[in-house]
């Protein structure tokens, strides 16, 4: 490189000849990418390796000892349906997360549709901003506020009492219904952004063409808008599902740990993982539990992709 530069300089080429041959060839390529690659390797890649590895450690006398033992996994799967009942918590998590994802996606889709079709174009930006606004506020505090709203003598119930509707008291705090309320409130701003971008990018002339050709509003919705929103809907729902499976806070604060659902009074897997660590500080077992959650989530996503792929192939045949 320096030799070449010297050569160029010797034959009187301008200074830039010693620089890149094409814009794609430059030392900056490596220099600019180095910080992110190094930071990710040390503080992202390495922790994930540790997570997998520590799952195989042993605990003796409250000390974690590096080892390759299946002790943690054996313990977890022995307690899969009895005692700690990790498996039932996993089931509860999937049930609550999938129903939450469905509710949040439908709600957000309706909001996105209302924003695009019922709000004048010049006001849409402000209207969208207000939907996103709650996302910037602290999640823990929002859950605390929902606690005061939903609790037995909380804001909602005291309001009902004030207007003489005592019989309509809401008894949902510390159930998985309350968990879902907190999660939906958390997810809605994000999902609305995804779905707003989806709906606003639908070519309006397609909808108008369908209407001109005699489609009813409902048909225009089900045959034009809905199919064209499919990708956004799938993205939003998968995002909601991942977030729902990974969130421990709503289940702990609004679901009260082991909140009841139609499945029974079991905690969410994530909330259970947190309390399990808080009470035992058994990091090897916690790592094993977290690894199992990752595997379950990856398996679920793979299943989702497989189902979607099959459905697509059947349609195209």
């Amino acid at each position: 490189m320096t030799a070449a530069a010297a050569g160029d300089a010797a034959i009187g080429a301008p200074a830039r000849a010693r620089r890149m041959r094409t814009p794609n060839d430059s030392p900056l390529k490596i220099l600019c990418l180095a910080p992110i690659v190094i930071w990710y390797a040390i503080f992202f890649g390495l922790p994930l390796v540790f997570l997998l590895w520590i799952g195989f450690w042993r605990v003796e006398n409250y000390q974690s000892i590096p080892d390759v033992s299946l002790q943690n996994y054996q313990e977890i799967f022995q307690n899969w349906v009895v005692k700690s009942r990790y498996g039932l918590a996993m089931l509860q998590s999937f049930w609550v997360a999938s129903t939450t994802a469905a509710i949040a996606t439908v709600l957000s889709f309706l909001i996105a549709l209302a924003l695009v079709f019922a709000v004048p174009a010049r006001r849409q930006r402000l209207a969208l901003l207000f939907v996103i606004a709650p996302f910037w506020s602290s999640y823990v505090l929002r859950l605390y506020s929902w606690q005061t709203i939903l609790s037995k003598n909380g804001v909602l119930n005291s309001m009902l009492k004030a207007v003489g509707l005592d019989d309509w008291r809401l008894e949902i705090i510390y159930t998985q219904i309350a968990t879902r309320v907190g999660l939906v409130h958390f997810l809605t701003p994000v999902l609305v952004v995804i779905l707003y971008v989806t709906v606003i990018n639908i070519d309006r002339t397609l909808i108008e063409a369908a209407r001109e050709l005699g489609a009813s509003r409902w048909q225009a919705f089900t045959r034009v808008i809905l199919p064209l929103s499919r990708f956004g809907l799938i993205t939003a729902a998968s995002f909601a599902l991942i977030m729902g499976l990974g969130d421990a806070l709503s289940g702990a604060l609004l679901g009260g740990g082991a909140g009841a659902s139609v499945l029974g009074k079991y905690p969410l897997y994530s909330a259970m993982l947190m309390t399990d660590y808080a009470s035992s500080t058994n990091l090897p077992r916690t790592s094993a539990l977290a690894t199992i959650l990752v595997v379950a989530m990856v398996a679920m996503m793979a299943l989702g992709v497989w189902v979607a792929e099959r459905a697509r192939r059947r349609v195209s045949e």
Partner: protein, 270 residues
């Protein structure tokens, strides 16, 4: 659209939207209102206005230090994350190289992996090197979390930059580094500020990683959580109102800096 055909849907849509706003803002508004109310437990009837919870919060002794910790960790994490993100965004915007898509996917991963799992993972590593339980460890992990959001905003801005600007600077004799610092960097400033605010928010609001990694030096969400699991405390309303005020400032910053980028109508400058 079609004459003589009354369409009820826009009106219904607006009613639905209004109800959605009520749902979205109810917890925020109530939290602020009850921070000024004498009620021990939020509910009706209202018992009169007071600043007692603010005084109690100042006396209480863990929330304000925690806010201080958060105001130390989050700006620091956001700043480092934004710097890393800027250089990476520049490289990703300008260069082609094998494995670029894979790298993009890996960069986005910390956002997609539940923070719960990252929290356990970080703890595993940090405990091994005896760095757990410090504010510094929260900073280290938060940088990973906030780099991707900052990067994506900066990349959005850089993608609007005409290639010719850079080429012109090279032709006029600027070195590549000079071009990067004096031409690209100024152009990216709105993206950098927007990215920083986004990064700050991600870190400021992050709970579960900080919960696993922190010891006695708690960040604000962790301190709030530890009070919350013990009892319902109206002082939380007071700290909540303050935190919402900070968030509102960030939000105004976002509105000024970030949304013009996303909507991109008024960014066709020179």
């Amino acid at each position: 659209m079609i004459a003589g055909d009354r369409n009820p849907w826009p009106a219904l849509g607006r009613v639905f939207l209004a109800l959605s706003y009520v749902f979205l803002f109810l917890p925020l508004v109530l939290l602020v209102v009850f921070s000024f109310q004498a009620n021990r437990f939020p509910g009706l009837p209202l018992q009169g206005w007071t600043l007692a919870w603010y005084e109690k919060m100042i006396d209480q002794g863990t929330l304000l230090p925690a806010l201080g910790h958060s105001m130390l960790v989050s700006p620091a994490a956001a700043t480092v994350g934004t710097i890393i993100g800027f250089f990476a965004a520049y490289a990703l915007n300008r260069f082609d190289f094998p494995g670029k898509t894979v790298l993009l996917g890996i960069i986005a991963l910390p956002i997609l992996i539940p923070p719960l799992i990252l929290g356990v993972a970080f703890l595993g590593l940090l405990a091994r090197v005896h760095l757990n339980g410090t504010l510094f460890s929260i900073f280290l992990t938060h940088v990973v979390l906030v780099t991707a959001p900052a990067l994506s905003v900066i990349q959005l801005r850089l993608s609007q930059m005409p290639r010719q600007i850079e080429e012109a600077a090279w032709d006029l004799g600027a070195t590549e580094l000079q071009t990067l610092m004096r031409v690209v960097l100024p152009f990216a400033v709105p993206g950098i500020l927007g990215g920083w605010l986004l990064a700050f928010t991600f870190s400021f609001d992050e709970f579960i990683i900080a919960w696993f990694v922190s010891g006695f030096d708690q960040t604000l969400p962790v301190a709030i959580y530890s009070i919350l699991v013990a009892s319902m405390e109206p002082t939380l309303n007071a700290i909540g109102a303050i935190v919402f005020a900070i968030s509102a400032l960030v939000l105004i910053g976002i509105e000024v800096l970030l949304l013009p980028l996303l909507f991109r109508k008024d960014t066709e400058e020179a």
